[in-house]
Each structure stands twice: as C-alpha cells, then as structure tokens.
C-alpha cells in the first residue's frame, strides 16, 4: 500500500525542522516528511486533546478523537491551502468530529434507554473512563484541592452549556482563536461569532455564579486570583 513516500525520513528530522515556520512544516509534512508530521502532532496534540476532553467529557474518547483528527488532517493535507490558517482548519476538523460524537451519543443514549436497559438519560452516559478535570496537572499540594474543586465546578458548568456555546468558549478563551478564525471555522459572520461568544460567556458566568456564588465575592475573587 502507498504510504506517502516519506518512510525514509527519520524522527530525528524534527530537530532540524524546529526552526521552520508552520507553513514550511506543513509543506514538508504534505511531501511525506515524518519529522514535520511529528512536529505538528506534538504542537497540536495537547490543545486538540484538551478541546475534546472539555467538549466530550470522556478521556478515552478524547484520545481516540485526537488521533482521528490527525489521521484526517494528514490524509487531507494535500488539499489544504497553506496560505490559510492551519490552526483554524485543524480545530474545524476537531469540532466537526466532536459534533459527530455528540450527535451519535445522543442517539446511543436513546437506544440504551429504550432497549438495553443501560444508563438512563439523566446519567452522563460516557463510554470510556471517567474524566477528572484536574487530571494530569502538576500543582502544589496545598493548592491542589482547591484547584481541583474549581476545575470540577468549571467542567460541570461547561457540561451544562449547549455544545455550541461550549465550543466557542473553549476555542475563543482557551485556544485564543480570533473572531475571524472562529467565523471561518463555524461558517458564519464575525458579528454572529461575537454575539455567540458574548452569550456563551454570560451563560458560563451565570452557571458558575449560581453554583458557586462565593467565588464572585470580592475577597474570594482576590484569593482565587492570587492562587491562579
């Protein structure tokens, strides 16, 4: 089977490619350079994985989906125009995949509820391992409990948001995509994106304030900022 003509390239190529720009790296990756692919994978894996983790709430599914995103990216890289924003493109692929998962999940929940006697619609219905929002983060021991509590509350609030709002929040405020990139990703106008981001932010604020009103008192806020 055809492998793309880049098998002879070693992983050590990534070191030589570290000084190249992302566009050059993409061209090399498209030509089959394993080093360039490795650099792109290492650069975007944490972000894509984090996005799936927050959107889907399932660690195993997030890992599988991250892998699937990169398979899709490198299989369709030939058609990608390097003049465009690669970040916007790869997050669009991730968002489409996440949306497929969310739709499929809603259908599976229905089947299980109807026929298999599994988890009901009120449960999370996650397929994989339970997700710890503060998992894998190196934090000071004294602060870890409080930080974990905050992370759980935020993840709980995120899970209560609509997927669209959750996505724009994560893409805008965690991945720092611009309004223009979001508009390209979502296929709508910049004004619409601004409106969606604003509504999502207000929704998150409302949810957090409803569940943890003490965090929004001035002294606690100051303590939280100091901890963060």
């Amino acid at each position: 089977m055809i492998r793309g003509g880049g098998d002879e390239r070693g992983a050590g190529e990534g070191g030589d490619l570290s000084a190249l720009s992302e566009a050059h790296c993409l061209v090399l990756a498209r030509a089959g350079s394993r080093g360039a692919q490795a650099r792109i994978v290492h650069q975007y894996t944490p972000r894509i994985h984090n996005l799936f983790l927050r959107l889907l709430g399932d660690r195993d599914l997030a890992q599988d989906s991250t892998q699937e995103v990169f398979l899709r990216v490198f299989s369709s890289l030939e058609s990608f125009d390097v003049a465009r924003s690669f970040r916007s493109w790869i997050f669009a692929i991730a968002w489409n995949l996440a949306r497929d998962h969310l739709r499929a999940r809603s259908r599976r929940r229905t089947w299980r509820f109807l026929g298999q006697g599994g988890a009901g619609p009120d449960s999370d219905g996650e397929d994989g391992a339970p997700f710890d929002p503060a998992d894998g983060r190196a934090v000071p021991p004294l602060d870890s409990l409080e930080r974990k509590e905050r992370a759980e509350a935020v993840q709980e609030a995120l899970s209560r948001l609509e997927p669209g709002k959750r996505a724009v929040l994560l893409l805008r405020d965690c991945e720092d995509l611009s309004y223009e990139e979001l508009a390209e990703l979502l296929g709508c106008g910049v004004g619409t994106v601004k409106s969606r981001v604003n509504r999502a932010r207000w929704a998150l604020r409302d949810l957090l304030k409803r569940t943890r009103p003490e965090w929004f008192d001035e002294p606690v806020r100051a303590r939280g900022a100091g901890a963060g």
């Binding site: 994978v41 299989s75 995120l158 604003n198 207000w202 900022a225 963060g228």
Partner: protein, 419 residues
C-alpha cells in the same frame, strides 16, 4: 450607552476589539453603573476560572501513539464518507448504518450470524474480498427482541454486499487509477521534497550570511558606540575647558575694562598736562623770541658748496662771537673759517676767505678797526701794527692755539685802543 447595550458588547470590551470611541463610552458607563461593572468583574473572573480549569497537558504517550498510527496507516482520501451513492457511511465514529438499526461499534465488525463482516478502516470492498464472508461463526452481540432488527440489518448488508460486488469491476479500475495517481503524487512529492531541500539549504546559507552580516553590523555598531562615547567625553572636556576659558576671558575683560578706564583717566590727565605745557611753551617761546630779537652777529651759510661767514653789528659784538666759533672744535670747518676771518679782520691777512663777495682791498695797517659796509653786511678790518707782520707769518705757521692766542692779544690791544 445603556446597561442592555453594555451587556451585549461586554465581550468585545474584554477582548479589546472596540474602537476608541466605543471604549470611552463603555468606560464612562462602567464608571457610573455598579451593576455593569460588577458584571464585567464577574465575567472576567469566570473566564479566568475557565482558563485555569481548561488547560492541561496531553496524556503521556498520546502524541507518540498518534505518530505510530500515522506511520502504520496509509494515506486516505478525504471527503469519502460513503462507498456508493445512497449508501450510508461506514466509518469509525459514525456507527449508525440505518435509522432503527443497532450500533455497529468499531472493533466489533461482526453484527449477526450469517451477516458478512465489514472491517473498520477499510471501506474499499473488492470482488472476492475475503473480509466479507458469509456465515461468520463468531458470537452474537444480542438476541431476543432484537432478532427482527438484526434480520433486517442482515438483509440490508447482504444487499449492500451484492451491490458492492456488482460495482467491483469499476472499483478495481478506480483503485488502479488511484494507485497511478498516488504514484504520480509520490513523484511530485519527491520533486517537491528535493526543491525544498535545496530551498532549505539556500535558506540556511542566507541565514548564515545574514547572521554574519548581523555580527559585523553589531561589531561596527559597538565600535561606533565606543567612538561616540569617546567623542562625547572629548566634547565634554572641551566644553569644560571652554567654560574655564570663558571665565578667564571674563576676568581679563574686567581687568581690561579697569585698565582702559585708568588709561582714559591718564589720557585725560595727559591732555591737561599737554594743555598746560603748551601754554607754558607759548610763554617760553615768547621769551625766546624776545631774546632772539637781537640780530645774529655772525651768520654762516653755504652757497655753491662753499661755507660763507657774514658778520653783523659792531665788532665788539661779532668778534667775540668769532672767537667763540674758532674755539669750538666740534665743527672744524666753521672753526677754521672763523679763525681765518679773525686773522683777516685783525690785520693778519686779506678779507675773510669765506666771504660771499670780493671785498674792497683793505690796506693792512695798524690802528683801530675800520668798517666797510657793503649792502647789509659790514666788513670790519683792524689796524694792525707793522711789526705784527712777522708775527702774522709766525702766527699762520703756529699751531691753532698759538694763533688764537695771538689774535686775542691783538684784539685786546685794539679793543683797548679803541676803547
């Protein structure tokens, strides 16, 4: 700006995408509205919590696993969600085949007994493909009330398999075309790879050259900075010296001003003294003029290179004057002429040798002096005793002092006689 408008555009305010005018209006409203300012604070806090919670590293080994999967996975064509038109997608992550049909999970290709196996990740189904076999003996997934659905799914899949088999020949041709296309792509990739290698090498050379230029420019810049620093120090020293010189010049100027004032004072004093001296000189001149009103008894003048002597006035006046001139040896010519004149007047010879005009012959003789007037001049002659003739000869030959002595003797005699 009102609270509703503020709430609608609060995100843009936080992101800093508002224009200056809108931001100013926002600031003005937030300064006066506690509700909106609290909303701003709370939204910023919520976003801070979100960023804190939603960041984290990927699981260890995930990226390496992805790379491994990439290395073991052939490149796939994108946008091929369906195998045939009208046939639902069979891909991992989209397990639904038909509405109302149970889920086909990835990794579990067996659906029901008697239904062909469809391996995930290999959507291409060729004629005679051994992955689609009837009567797969592997176990059941479910039974009981789902038997009807399973039967329906089996029928659908059987139809699908038939369709695929029917379409197998074109698919084989398509596969051959795709492989040919892929080999062409590989050629293009190789060419592009070679071009990129050359471009990379060229870029490396340019980068090295640029770094070298930058190093040189940096060194030149440092040298220039050092030179400039030295120049600034020199300028500072010169400025200091100039200030000292200016101070000294100011002191000298003060001294000069004092000196010039003193000089002016001295000039004024000198002018007074000159004025006084002039007045005194005028008085002295008048006195001298008064003194010199008497006629000069002996007048000396040169005519045609010869020195002439003219006597005026009485012999008692000009003869002592002639004696004085004869004794004065500062000018030998005058003294000699005065002596000769005395000898001529006092009877030792003819008329004075320096005379301007030839006088009348005068008889040498004895007795008092005789006076001959010619014009304004009076020539005197003295009567010399006869016995003095010898003495005259002797006198002419005697030294100068002797002659003067003789002449004074004669003059005293004559003057005494006359007197």
């Amino acid at each position: 700006m009102n609270c509703k408008h503020c709430a609608r555009r609060l995100s843009e305010y936080i992101d800093g995408t508002l224009d200056r005018e809108s931001r100013a209006r926002f600031d003005e409203h937030l300064g006066s509205c506690s509700s909106c300012s609290a909303g701003l604070r709370e939204m910023e806090e919520a976003l801070r919590l979100l960023r804190e919670a939603a960041s984290g590293p990927a699981p260890a080994g995930l990226a390496d696993g992805i790379l491994l999967a990439l290395a073991s996975t052939p490149p796939r064509a994108t946008g091929v969600p369906t195998i045939l038109p009208g046939v639902p997608t069979i891909l991992p992550g989209n397990p639904t085949i038909l509405p109302g049909v149970p889920t086909i999970l990835p990794g579990d290709p067996t659906i029901l007994p008697g239904v062909p196996t469809i391996l995930p990740g290999d959507p291409t189904i060729l004629p005679g493909n051994p992955t689609i076999l009837p009567g797969n003996p592997r176990g059941r997934r479910s039974g009981g009330p789902w038997t009807g659905f399973a039967a329906a799914a089996a029928i659908v899949l059987a139809l699908l398999a038939g369709l695929l088999a029917w379409q197998g020949r074109p698919v084989a041709r398509r596969v051959a075309e795709l492989e040919s296309e892929v080999s062409g792509m590989r050629g293009r990739w190789e060419a592009e790879k070679a071009e990129l290698a050359v471009a990379l090498e060229r870029a490396s050379d340019e980068l090295a050259a640029a770094r070298s230029d930058a190093d040189r420019a940096g060194a030149a810049l440092a040298a220039e900075a050092t030179r400039r620093e030295r120049l600034e120090e020199a300028v500072a020293r010169l400025e200091s010296a100039a200030r000292a010189e200016a101070d000294r010049a100011a002191l000298v100027a003060d001294d000069l001003r004092v000196e010039s004032e003193r000089a002016a004072s001295l000039e004024s004093e000198l002018a007074l003294l000159r004025d006084r001296a002039l007045r005194r000189g005028a008085v002295d001149g008048a006195i001298a003029a008064g003194a010199s009103a008497q006629p000069e008894p002996v007048v000396l003048r040169r005519r045609g290179g010869r020195l002439e002597l003219e006597t005026r006035g009485h012999p008692h006046v000009f003869i002592p004057r002639l004696f004085a001139l004869a004794r004065d040896e500062s000018d030998p010519e005058i003294a000699s002429l005065a002596l000769d004149s005395l000898e001529g007047i006092l009877g030792f010879g003819g008329p004075p040798s320096g005379g301007g005009t030839e006088p009348d012959p005068v008889e040498p003789g004895v007795g008092p002096v005789k006076w001959v007037r010619r014009g304004v001049a009076v020539f005197a002659t003295a009567a010399v005793p006869r016995g003095a003739q010898v003495e005259e000869t002797q006198a002419r030959e005697s030294p100068r002092e002797r002659r003067l002595h003789d002449l004074e003797t004669v003059w005293r005699q004559a003057a005494g006689t006359e007197g």
